[in-house]
């Protein structure tokens, strides 16, 4: 406890204000506030602030609207459905959020990852030439597992790009946003069809090349939209 001639410490003011001070000390501290205007005023200010905080209404609606997007992003980061032995496995992104635009941004994280996932092994294969008969080449396909770790680091980099794009969303012109949503739908349909085909024919190099190409299109599209602000 400070001497009577000294002001109360910050900790003493805080605990006196919220009533958590040790009863053995609170009597002396309270006596100090009766003779020290500064400390008394400060404690009164702290109490008023605490009362306001308690009485504060619920967060405005806009914050509520933000939560689904935040939750979706957290979920997207948590879910990594890379099944053993399934070459096409990529981080699962929710199929469609309420907001097509936001969904597009989220999807691009998976896009970047899938570009790496699909493109790296393909590059290797491509040196030996392209081939529609993916099934015939199953035994030659490099193991997918080798690029998963690399995909994660690329994915993290993509997320920072997504965060930046999401911040820019408010300044993107409405007509550009409409164009973006329409084009994103086109690309998303293509990606969905390719994923479906890859699920049936996992080692087809052509499907993987096409999927990589579609993901690149999506990332390019989001970047272009970022310039529309």
């Amino acid at each position: 406890m400070t001497a009577p001639s000294q002001h109360l410490t910050e900790e003493e003011r805080q605990t006196l204000a919220d009533g958590t001070m040790d009863p053995a000390r609170s009597g002396t501290a309270a006596a100090h506030t009766r003779v020290c205007v500064d400390c008394a005023t400060d404690i009164a200010r702290i109490r008023m602030l605490m009362a306001r905080t308690r009485d504060a209404s619920a967060p405005p609606e806009a914050l509520d609207e933000l939560w689904p997007a935040i939750r979706s992003r957290l979920d997207a980061r948590k879910v990594v459905s890379i099944a053993a032995g399934v070459p096409d496995a990529a981080p699962v992104v929710p199929r469609r959020t309420r907001h097509a635009f936001r969904a597009g941004l989220l999807g691009a994280a998976a896009a970047a990852a899938a570009v790496v996932i699909t493109f790296l092994p393909i590059r290797e294969r491509n040196r030996a030439g392209d081939d529609a008969g993916g099934r015939q080449r199953q035994d030659k396909t490099p193991p997918f597992v080798a690029v998963v770790d690399s995909a994660r680091s690329y994915e993290a980099e993509a997320r920072s790009l997504l965060d930046r794009l999401e911040l820019q969303r408010a300044v993107i012109r409405p007509e550009a946003a409409r164009l973006l949503e329409r084009d994103l739908r086109s690309v998303d349909v293509a990606i969905a069809e390719l994923k479906d085909a890859i699920a049936r024919d996992p080692n087809n190099p052509t499907l993987r090349q096409l999927l990589a190409s579609s993901y690149r299109q999506k990332i390019d599209l989001l970047r272009r939209a970022g310039n529309a602000g």
């Binding site: 164009l179 084009d183 390719l194 096409l210 690149r216």
Partner: protein, 291 residues
């Protein structure tokens, strides 16, 4: 008598400009100053029309007029400049400006537009428009052109070119060498025959290539649901790998020697080969025919 050197310089620039084939018909002079070769320029025009012309002088001259409700801004120094139009107040409708600028040939520009038609001749750099058409021509050190849905007409001679658009048409001609171009749903037409490394892609737009691959060239065409059509001269020489997951493959080149074939892929050799052409589609048709 005191000489106002800035006025004198402006008069000299304007006089030189008159001698270079442009005049007051392009509008009043909005700005002029000395600018070193290789300077960087940032240009912003919302709507209307922007023309950029490279010239062999160490100065910049801008003519034209700003659209209604807009003003012309012009600033910087001899190493780099920024000019364009901006709204006088608020977010009103996009004005229709008419801007023509003559800039040093080796300048690098960064052009941004919302709806303005952008034209340039002999200018290198980055060109972006949300919905305006972009037409680039002449010789450039590098070109990057992007639009959300504007059409791109790229008739340039450049070692490096990259272009993207949504549903606008993308036309590539001229003499580019390293090329990466794509659309989402717009048609992609390629008549350039100097491409050494090329990637041509679309999600749902058709791709048409009319030309002969250069010796040693590696070119890839990729489309999800659009058709890819290759129209070749009778003396074309290349090795083709054509693959479609569920689309048809039509070989209209009778002299082509099939190397390998399966229901969904076809490998062909034309002439001595010498260049590699790969085509992949998911459900778009692939057509190969002779011009």
């Amino acid at each position: 008598m005191r000489v106002d050197w800035r006025t004198l310089a402006l008069l000299l620039v304007v006089a030189a400009a008159e001698a270079r084939g442009q005049s007051s018909a392009d509008g009043p002079v909005l700005g002029a100053r000395a600018l070193r070769q290789g300077a960087s320029l940032k240009i912003w025009v919302d709507g209307g029309r922007l023309r950029l012309i490279a010239w062999d002088r160490d100065s910049i001259l801008v003519r034209g007029h700003a659209g209604r409700g807009e003003r012309f801004v012009f600033g910087g120094d001899s190493n780099g400049m920024k000019f364009g139009t901006e709204a006088r107040a608020g977010n009103g409708p996009i004005g229709r400006s008419e801007i023509a600028a003559w800039i040093p040939r080796r300048s690098t520009v960064s052009v941004k537009s919302v709806a303005a038609a952008v034209e340039s001749a002999g200018v290198s750099g980055w060109f972006y428009s949300v919905s305006g058409a972009i037409h680039l021509s002449g010789r450039a050190t590098s070109i990057e052109a992007e639009s959300m849905n504007g059409s791109l007409d790229l008739d340039v001679s450049t070692p490096w070119l990259r272009a993207r658009t949504g549903d606008g048409r993308l036309l590539l001609r001229g003499a580019p060498e390293d090329v990466d171009v794509s659309t989402i749903s717009g048609t992609l037409d390629v008549t350039a025959t100097t491409v050494r490394r090329g990637q041509f892609g679309s999600v749902s737009g058709d791709i048409r290539y009319a030309g002969s691959p250069v010796a040693g060239g590696i070119v890839e065409f990729s489309s999800h649901s659009g058709n890819v059509e290759l129209i070749l001269p009778s003396d074309a020489s290349a090795e083709f790998a054509l693959t479609s997951i569920s689309g048809s493959i039509e070989n209209g080149v009778t002299r082509a020697q099939p190397i390998a074939a399966s229901p969904r892929s076809l490998r062909l050799m034309l002439g001595r080969g010498g260049s590699q052409v790969t085509v992949r589609t998911f459900k778009g048709a692939i057509r190969l025919r002779v011009r």
